[in-house]
Amino acid sequence: MDSLSKLDEVKTTPWSGGREPWSIEYGKIMMWFFLVSDAFTFSSFLIYYGAQKFAQPTWIDADKIFQSIPGIADHGQPLVFVGIMTFILIMSSVTMVLAVEAGHRNSKKEVVKWMIWTILGGMAFVGCQALEWTHLHHLGFWFGTNPATGLTDPAAISAKLQPYFTNDISYTAALQFSNLFFTITGFHGFHVTVGIILNIIILFMVLNNTFEKRGTYLMIEKVGLYWHFVDLVWVFVFTFFYLI
């Protein structure tokens, strides 16, 4: 009798049904799961970069290849330009959280203001990346090529690649660096571009009073998650391509 009544007792733990154990809206959970899977993709790219670096006896010196500030200095300024890019992306992440925060207070005017700043930040970042790609392309780096592509004489190859190496010179290492740099920053840049488009759509929905009518600005939060993730990926890309 006693044990039977225990069976009938209604359990109230978060996982015994009848309630949402995480109390997070469905779309937001799915955004998180998408981001986890996307993190796997980026991890695989960066891990392959690491594996290549370990497999090559020598590697390009980041200080020597990223030396230009477009419009100001052609070379001699390592890391400065990427520093500006990193600052822009962190800054646009901050304006995104501020938009989310304003959304929690249902303050349409502030959401619009911060969304516009976020979009501008994203565009500035992609613009900077385009300038950097152009610069490297002019040097001869591209998918499948490096400055020495087409040369056959070992002395000519080594002379052409000498400016980018501190240790021994390898055509293969320069080629792998080139491929992986354009693939990984390209995939990241593609994510930023998608983020900008999503942000613009959301901005128009805010202006259209869509969320005002819905009663919640939760959509800002979901797109915000994506935008922060893009910033998060850049933190890793920056470390592994530009610092190490």
Binding site: A39, H104, I157, G215
Partner: protein, 126 residues
């Protein structure tokens, strides 16, 4: 349905109230900026200009630790994960055990290829 939406809203509002005010946002920004500034000070100053620090495993480990700290602040505060339910935090982060394993796996593999299958020419840098 209306009731269900209400509980959701109140949860989020509550979590935000104790988590991410405007002041906290700028605090986290300050931390991120500070860590990035240290990275630049070391990379540009100590390593490139003044040659105080040599490039090597210790320096790279230092960069990776700073990167992971930055990643923690972005995920925990900007993405708000710290203020979600514990089971959700575990659900989203435990899978990265596989990534750690994959890193170890691929770096060991890369190192093996370096010593066993090196067939590309390498030219000395005078």
């Amino acid at each position: 349905m209306a009731n269900h939406d209400h509980t959701l809203d109140s949860h989020d509002a509550h979590a935000h109230g104790e988590g991410m005010g405007v002041k906290r946002i700028w605090q986290v920004f300050g931390i991120l900026l500070f860590i990035t500034a240290i990275e630049f000070l070391v990379a540009l100053g100590f390593v490139h200009h003044w040659h105080i620090v040599e490039k090597g495993a210790a320096l790279y480990a230092f960069y990776v630790v700073l990167t992971l700290i930055k990643a923690y602040y972005i995920v925990a505060f900007f993405m708000h994960l710290k203020f979600e339910k514990k089971s959700f935090i575990i659900c989203c982060s435990i899978v990265f055990i596989f990534i750690i394993y994959f890193i170890v796996l691929m770096l060991i593999e890369g190192n093996f290829l370096l010593t066993h299958f090196q067939e590309h020419p390498v030219y000395p840098n005078k």
